[in-house]
Symmetry: C2
Subunit: 423 residues, 2 copies
């Protein structure tokens, strides 16, 4: 029996002849995301993977509605697997905002689901780092958020030569629209066309734009000029003060398709243009009010960064780490009479925080040693009479000591080696 199409299994490490997905690579990406988000003072939260379908249909443009994994549950509720995190965040923030000093900064790493017609390599689920700042209207918050996005990618060893954040503004586009069209109902359709401009045949886009009373040529000139608004200037200056100027450029070619963005918007792309967007986000100052039925009104902004495009990019740039064994010690039991006492030592080492492996059943000594080498462990230990013999597989050093000295010996040996490497 196979898994469902568009879903991934995460084996501990990548299988031969399989794709890139594995739990250890996933943990590498998640751990990096978490530690960078925390360095920016963001706190982790999470919500249910299932929500009332209304939570998503209420806020979203038409684009998302047809792609939901939605169904009716046994209690006749219309429910849906979450296709994005922002509506859940807005619901939670609105419900509990009184408990938090503004602004508050939250992150989450939800798994998200979309039912899209199966395309080559296109998945129906992915994980997404979501980082949001609630309750701050200043462009300083936009800069803080974009800096975090940049540092999440840098912490995975991507550089300014690998990616760029294209910074745009819904306000700038709103002004452009308002100066040329006095029918607000057409704005959403207009944004959709702009959003597809780079992927669509220019003649097709121009015809659509003409239908709304816009000139494609004028729009391309507006994008090419890239004249930053006062707000975008503040954001860029803030990022420059942090030393992150090289990672961002003003680019009105980005507008973000979703209906709910208001102020600045941005997307991160690989410089070579081989992949879809690595991350995207922006301001959505009206969303919390919409989701809370006008009960709570807080400015907010956020971004999402998916694991799929990112991991593919890391692989293409040779930046996936060689993940080492996390087993520290293989405990050799060469004489079965020593098994009970060996078990006691194994237990002690594990309690002291070491990762310890051993053969559950009798096995020849040389086979055990070979297994230890395969696992890439740092030490083997075996009992010999009343003593323990520790062997380092890296330095080949061997030491005989009393079992109760084992833990201290291992610590000292590891610390000494690290010190020597640092000299």
């Amino acid at each position: 029996m196979d898994r469902l199409p568009g879903f991934r299994d995460f084996y501990p490490e990548p299988l031969p002849n399989n794709d890139v997905w594995s739990a250890d690579i996933r943990n590498h990406v998640f751990d990096t995301w978490r530690s960078v988000a925390r360095s920016y003072g963001f706190s982790e939260y999470d919500g249910p993977p299932l929500e009332p379908t209304e939570l998503f249909t209420k806020k979203s443009g038409d684009e998302i509605v047809g792609q939901l994994y939605n169904f009716t549950d046994k209690g006749e509720r219309e429910i849906s697997l979450r296709p994005e995190m922002t509506p859940t965040l807005a619901r939670m923030a609105a419900a509990a905002e009184r408990n938090y000093k503004k602004p508050f900064k939250w992150f989450s790493i939800p798994q998200l689901f979309r039912y899209e017609r199966q395309q080559k390599g296109r998945l129906r689920e992915h994980y997404q780092l979501n980082c949001d700042i609630i309750g701050e209207d200043s462009p300083a918050a936009d800069a803080e958020l974009i800096a975090l996005l940049i540092d999440c990618l840098r912490a995975l060893d991507l550089s300014a030569e690998d990616f760029v954040v294209r910074l745009s503004s819904r306000n700038a586009w709103q002004d452009f629209f308002d100066a040329r069209c006095n029918d607000p109902a057409k704005a959403y359709e207009f944004y959709q066309i702009i959003d597809k401009l780079e992927r669509e045949d220019p003649a097709v886009s121009d015809e659509k734009l003409a239908g709304l009373g816009f000139s494609g040529t004028e729009i391309r000139e507006f994008i090419a000029a890239g004249e930053p608004t006062a707000e975008l200037k503040l954001i860029v200056d803030d990022l420059a003060a942090r030393g992150l100027r090289d990672f961002v450029k003003i680019d009105y070619g980005v507008i973000r398709g979703l209906a709910y963005y208001s102020g600045p918007v941005f997307e991160a792309f690989d410089r070579k243009g081989e992949f879809r967007a690595i991350a995207g986000g922006g301001r959505y100052n009206q969303l919390i009010r919409l989701i809370s039925d006008d009960k709570v009104d807080l400015p907010a902004l956020g971004f999402g960064m998916g694991d799929v495009v990112l991991t593919e990019l890391l692989k293409a740039r040779g930046l996936l780490p060689e993940l080492e064994s996390d087993i520290d010690v293989f405990f050799l039991i060469e004489d079965e009479a020593l098994r009970p006492r060996s078990l006691r030592q194994i237990q002690k080492l594990r309690e002291d925080g070491y990762n310890v492996e051993f053969s559950l059943t009798p096995m020849k000594g040389n086979k055990q040693f070979k297994r230890a080498q395969e696992l890439g462990v740092e030490f083997t230990i075996r009992l010999e009479g009343e003593m323990a013999v520790v062997k380092s597989l890296k330095t080949r050093d061997e030491a005989r000591l009393a079992p109760e000295e084992l833990t201290d010996y291992l610590v000292d040996t590891i610390v000494d080696r690290i010190d020597e490497q640092n000299v």
Copy 2:
């Protein structure tokens, strides 16, 4: 708009007047599970939260089928949110076992879903640590698995006074059954009655047992005698060698409801008997063959430990940690002219691994300092001319130094204090 009944929101920390659930407590439990599982040489894996419904109906007793969160997707597939992890594990293990030396030891922390009629405090989702050993028939593997279960609870500060693992044997019950009944078709029903024995009115159980030709009195005597099988003796001796004898007792009152268990089975309970089972598991030597349509035949065993009962138990025993702020530094910007240079230092500190918070907008110095105290940070830092002033909120020490010395100073100060505490 509310979340669905039976689902949890995880705010960063427990809200006032709210229940115990929060992301920081969840991370505390998950991190502990992960580190103990790794100390036992277990590797992390994961699978899709959605699977073909057939994967679950194929292997399970009737008990589970009516409780699935199942539906038909837009591609007319019968699919279900996973109610347990073992079928996914069996599917993945069967598909890739050639890549792994036997036995292999895997763990996962899936979120699981059951559609049960809503009962007070009963959730429709929970997280569950799943640990399994594939490809080893020896009772040494059962002992290794039970030791891991015990150490997961001990690492959360639960002691032998708080919980006990009740160890039983499907083989012992199978022998009991075979000696008294020659209709194997009745075995599943028989196990179901035994499984409910402790929760059901004795008269009701006795009547059901009599209907199958068994004597309730004889069964209670068999349980009371608790005569360990040779297999259980080996497991208990192994645990005794590890120093874990106090955490386990032979108890045939446990049998595990699910159909697929074969040899030893066990459940962990709080000693006071206030909660449902904390964890449960056992051998399921036939399951991988069943799931793989006879293609792969590997002995296997595992346990699941849910987060809900466990967290409630930790709370009742006063063992939930006081979670401290993970913000290290609050960077004070008392003069807006210093903001750009302060941003540069904040960026540097974050890149060096410190968690740093600051006010995004102009704020009076004393309000910033108050915010730093509320956040429980360890240090405040502010620029003063060309120098940085570091203040420890724990020792009240203050130091003036060049900005480029900041990181080294923070490391040294923290290390010195830890050394003093250890003296």
